[in-house]
């Protein structure tokens, strides 16, 4: 599998570390709502289809990137720096 790092270009998957579901929103730090924290840490949409996820180019520029990858075909349709913010408008996984 090749992942196109927005900085380095297409690189082998072995250079990347999977950092999991990119749909999760960390609650505001002072939030006391344990339900929100639990959902953030433990609960996953886990779709069969397009999935928003985060990878780190750990054996490259070390940037974290948002990736949209189809979990049925492994086809990647979008990558962008995670620093660009949460791609909420491209929410994937609710329907699959």
């Amino acid at each position: 599998m090749l992942i196109t790092c927005p900085y380095c270009g297409p690189r082998d998957v072995s250079e990347f570390t999977y950092q999991g579901d990119g749909n999760r929103q960390r609650p505001a730090p002072a939030t006391k709502d344990l339900g929100a924290w639990n959902e953030y840490v433990y609960d996953r949409i886990n779709p069969a289809g397009d999935h928003n996820e985060i990878w780190q180019h750990s054996s490259g520029c070390r940037m974290h990137i948002h990736v949209v990858r189809n979990t049925l075909t492994h086809e990647i349709t979008d990558t962008r720096p995670a620093r660009g913010g949460h791609p909420a408008s491209r929410h994937h996984g609710a329907k699959s």
């Binding site: 900085y7 380095c8 072995s14 250079e15 054996s59 490259g60 520029c61």
Partner: protein, 209 residues
């Protein structure tokens, strides 16, 4: 402010000779299948200073400018963009991050002076990286054994840099001539990497300079 950073993030300057990580395994001479010629030559480059420069978002161009004035190198504003001139080298390794190396032993301090904190940070890595140079007609072939990168000249032009890894060994690579690459590896891994490199070069015949 700059002075504290200089004190904190630099190993400093000394007349005491520095010990190469490769010392016991560095064996000058011709090795491997060299009867029909030398495919590549290996050497350790010992730049006195290796410094990482990182710009805050939006300050990348400013940093490139500072590198230009301190190093006398004009960096193209592109992925891995870099330039090399004798012992002076600079190349991009990550968004807004550059590795610069030079014979000047106080390069980290020079950059710390030249760079405002709101531009970015300066981190001295002079002792933390070992630089291995590989050159010769078979250089792309040997590099391809180690790294999953396209080493052809159009894909990896002279001066440009790339960050990658050979299994567990992180490496930053700059093409310093058409048939020459400088590989920056972590000092602690340098000996393992060198040994593996030598072994892979046996096939084409190699010389340690």
């Amino acid at each position: 402010m700059a002075s504290t950073r200089k004190a904190g993030q630099s190993a400093g300057v000394s007349a005491v000779a520095r010990l190469s990580a490769l010392a016991p395994v560095y064996r000058p001479g011709s090795h491997g299948n060299f009867e029909h010629g030398i495919g590549v030559a290996l050497s350790e480059v010992v730049p006195t200073s290796i410094v990482q420069l990182a710009a805050w978002s939006g300050k990348e161009k400013k940093l490139i400018g500072i590198i230009g004035s301190v190093m006398g190198l004009a960096l193209p504003d592109a992925t891995g963009g870099g330039a090399v001139e004798g012992a002076r080298a600079a190349f991009g390794v990550a968004p807004g991050k550059f590795l610069v190396s030079d014979d000047r032993d106080d390069l980290a301090s020079i950059f710390a002076e030249a760079m405002e904190p709101d531009t970015g940070t300066v981190t001295d890595l002079s002792h933390g990286r070992t630089v291995i140079r590989i050159e010769g007609p078979e250089v792309e072939w040997i590099m391809a054994k180690f790294f999953a990168l396209d080493f052809s000249l159009p894909a990896f032009p002279v001066g440009a840099g790339r960050s990658t890894a050979h299994h567990d060994i992180f490496a930053q690579i700059q093409r310093t001539a058409a048939e020459q690459f400088d590989i920056y590896v972590f000092r602690s891994f340098a000996r393992s990497f060198w040994t593996a490199l030598c072994r892979s070069c046996e096939e084409v015949g190699y010389e340690v300079q």
